[in-house]
């Protein structure tokens, strides 16, 4: 069975990943770990004694962001290797929202089950489920395992 584990940098995502392997994984399952990262907020104009296009600032933010994503990717690659699972790690930064990105990937890769946390790095904590898991559970055409903290 092909399983997609949708992660972000949060602890809940990590827990969902571990939970899947401890309780649901079967030998022979192929695991896709995906992170649909949103582009970080980039400054458009900076005023330092006259308007200037903050190319340096933007480059710095993007480099930091890419490094964080790469480190996370490596971390999950190592984890999958240690668990001896058949795996693919697909980390991508895009301008689009993560929810639709995950659904598109599920369809493209013919995934049969999705695993994700109830919430991730999002700021609004009032709701039980974060916006991305909420989107995925309502739009996925395959079983979705939602893991709370």
């Amino acid at each position: 069975m092909k399983v997609l584990i949708a992660v972000d940098g949060s602890e809940i995502a990590q827990k969902a990943f571990n939970y899947y392997f401890e309780n649901f994984h079967r030998e022979g399952n192929e695991v896709l770990v995906c992170y649909r990262s949103e582009q970080p907020d980039l400054p458009t104009i900076m005023f330092t004694g006259g308007a200037s296009f903050p190319a340096e600032e933007i480059a710095k933010i993007m480099t930091e962001h890419n490094k964080k994503v790469n480190d996370m990717e490596n971390q999950y690659v190592m984890a999958c290797k240690n668990l001896k699972a058949k795996y693919k790690v697909l980390f991508e930064t895009s301008a689009g929202r993560p929810g639709p990105g995950i659904i598109k990937l599920v369809e493209k890769e013919c995934v049969e089950m999705i695993v994700m946390g109830t919430r991730g790095l999002g700021v609004i904590k009032r709701t039980v489920m974060g916006s991305v898991s909420n989107y995925v559970v309502h739009h996925a055409k395959v079983p979705v395992l939602i893991c709370p903290n």
Binding site: Y19, F24, M113, C147
Partner: protein
């Protein structure tokens, strides 16, 4: 792992249960297949403003209800008779909503995950997620596996 599979008389619930056993189940898992049967409406009729309980009608309603309950129980016992591991089928007649019933039962049994279909016998088709699975997702403090067909 203790698993509660929430079912009703719908084909969706049956598919969900079958899918669980084909792709997720492990012999060491303890499975509880649970269905909340709604308390039957006891008919009464008014004769010139005086309510009269029709004993025969009432008896018939109760017998029909008990038959439906037994049918559902038998269906799932038959479905799972060849599966390894401890499997218990319970159909309980309760008041209150199916959603809260499921969450309560899950708490009572101390299960580790709730498996539910995305929709069951409900009539409102506009929504993607039925009211019961929606309730369970938002109120269970456990991992929930929602099986879309």
């Amino acid at each position: 792992m203790k698993v509660l599979i929430a079912v009703d008389a719908s084909a969706g619930a049956e598919k969900c249960c079958k899918w669980y056993f084909e792709t997720i189940h492990k012999p060491e898992n303890e499975v509880y297949i649970f269905s909340h049967a709604k308390k039957p409406d006891i008919p009464n009729s008014a004769f010139g403003g005086v309510a009269v309980l029709l004993a025969e009608e009432v008896q018939r309603t109760i017998i029909e209800h008990d038959c439906a309950v037994k049918e559902l129980e038998d269906k799932y016992i038959e479905l799972t008779k060849n599966e390894p591991g401890k499997i218990t089928v319970t159909v309980e007649t309760r008041g209150g909503s199916p959603g809260s019933s499921i969450v309560e039962k899950a708490g009572q049994l101390g299960v580790d995950v709730i498996v539910t279909g995305s929709r069951g016998l409900g009539t409102v088709r506009r929504t993607i997620l039925g009211s019961v699975s929606d309730y369970v997702l938002h109120h269970a403090k456990l991992p929930v596996l929602v099986c879309h067909n």
